[in-house]
């Protein structure tokens, strides 16, 4: 599948790779340069492959409350928050952003690889008073990220970018929200697919540099933002993933009882941040993690941090090892390299 920006990417020198069935740019000039651009200036990512679900109706809020972990009743109109969709066992189906467009109107942005599964799961559970629409193919989206993102926002909208994170602004040109996946200030712009090319060109003309999925991955990993399918899975709960802040156990939702039981029994593992403390090859996913000669886990994500210059990784560790300062080893092609559990995120 291709986003409406496919030709733009190719024209800009994008190196196209498969991502969850989508032909997406992994890089243009280079991952390290793009990473640095987002940390110091401003870059733009095509995130049109992600899904857009609209939920409307008098029962919309109550229905979402029962399906998602974060508290919808605390989400004011014009704001967005991070939330999770769980299975009955408390495992993660998807992580997503919920925008409250009006009292009875919500937009959900979901992971590209999970659009069909999420839509089926939610669609099956629709009740009277709720209108649920998967409009993923009707919308494109751009993520403009970096310390200079405010300048791009002003150039595109003619208004100042809200200083507050997670603010939603609906304008004639689309929906703008101050969210992102990089740890930098910035915004995401949800735009009708037919206007994607014009939006992309306007953002570039204002000075944003095209950035690919490669930099998006190293940027999010430095912030310890989980990637569903790698760091999150139906076999792990958000409590194990360290996302308890986004889970309100005081309300009723699918998967809640399993989480309450897991909390009472004690977590078996916790998604932890690991820094390699000697020179090593880049860490990647599925590398073995050792403690005192025992295989204790494997990495779920890894990289050579462009900002920090050393290997970083995430791994589910048994709780007794999931403590900052704990020394471990990560195996790369048969050799073990010393690593240490860190407080999240890697980039402070």
């Amino acid at each position: 599948m291709r986003t409406p920006l496919f030709e733009e990417h190719v024209a800009a020198g994008g190196r196209m790779v498969d991502f969850a069935g989508w032909e997406m740019p992994v890089q243009y000039a280079g991952i390290l340069a793009e990473h640095q651009t987002v940390r110091t200036q401003v870059g733009v990512f095509d995130i049109s492959h992600m899904g857009e679900f609209f939920v409307r109706g008098p029962e919309a809020a109550a229905w979402l409350e029962g399906l998602l972990t974060n508290r919808i009743s605390k989400l004011a109109v014009g704001h967005a928050h991070y939330s999770l969709l769980l299975n009955e066992a408390g495992g993660v189906i998807d992580d997503l952003i919920v925008y409250r467009l009006a009292d009875e109107s919500f937009l959900l942005i979901v992971n590209a690889a999970k659009i069909r599964e999420d839509a089926a799961w939610m669609g099956e559970r629709v009740v009277a008073g709720v209108e649920f629409e998967d409009r993923s193919s009707d919308f494109a989206a751009l993520a403009v990220q970096g310390p200079e993102a405010g300048r791009i926002f002003e150039a595109v909208t003619g208004t100042a970018m809200p200083a507050e994170r997670n603010r939603v602004v609906e304008l004639p040109d689309g929906i703008f929200v101050t969210t992102g996946y990089t740890g930098e200030s910035g915004f995401e712009w949800i735009v009708p697919a037919t206007q994607a090319v014009s939006a992309w060109r306007r953002v570039l003309a204002a000075g944003a540099v095209p950035c690919g999925l490669g930099a998006r991955d190293t940027l999010r990993l430095e912030m310890c933002y989980p990637l569903n399918g790698s760091d999150l899975s139906p076999e792990r709960t958000p409590l194990e993933a360290g996302l308890g802040y986004f889970v309100d156990l005081e309300k009723s939702f699918v998967g809640r009882d399993a989480l309450v039981a897991q909390k009472a029994a004690g977590l078996p593992a916790r998604l932890s941040a690991l820094s390699v403390i000697e020179k090593s090859p880049p860490i990647r996913s599925h590398y073995p993690v050792w403690s005192n000669g025992s295989l204790v886990s494997e990495t779920t994500s890894g990289a050579l941090s462009p900002t920090l210059g050393h290997g970083i990784a995430l791994a589910y560790l048994p709780v007794e090892l999931a403590k900052p300062g704990q020394l471990l080893e990560i195996e790369v092609r048969g050799r073990r390299f010393a690593a240490r559990v860190e407080k999240k995120p890697f980039k402070k």
């Binding site: 340069a33 490669g214 050579l304």
Partner: protein, 126 residues
Amino acid sequence: MNVPDDLRYAESHEWIRVEGDVGTVGITDHAQAELTDIVFAEPPAVGKKITAKDVAAVVESVKAASDIYAPVSGEVVERNDAVEQNPSLLNTDPFGEGWIFKVRLANPAELESLKDAAAYRAQIGA
């Protein structure tokens, strides 16, 4: 794409420059461009015996690890510590400061099976 005329090339995108019985080995401009930002390089140890077409070194880009194959058989007589310290030399100067190791040729006849610049250009469509 730069493909110097005075080198021999392996199909697996290594080059070799032979002076006397010693060959200097690196990866081609095409290879570095395909690999993108190289962030890790591990040249072989001096004294290591290598065999043509076997793995002799490893380089890694941000996204992937890639084996470097020995274009010829022999003994490693020098390794380029500079690329270990600064792997981006493989990107910025693949035929110069980005060389990886030097090998004393065990069987110079192996050079005959490597490509000349014209044949390698044809392989990569340059």
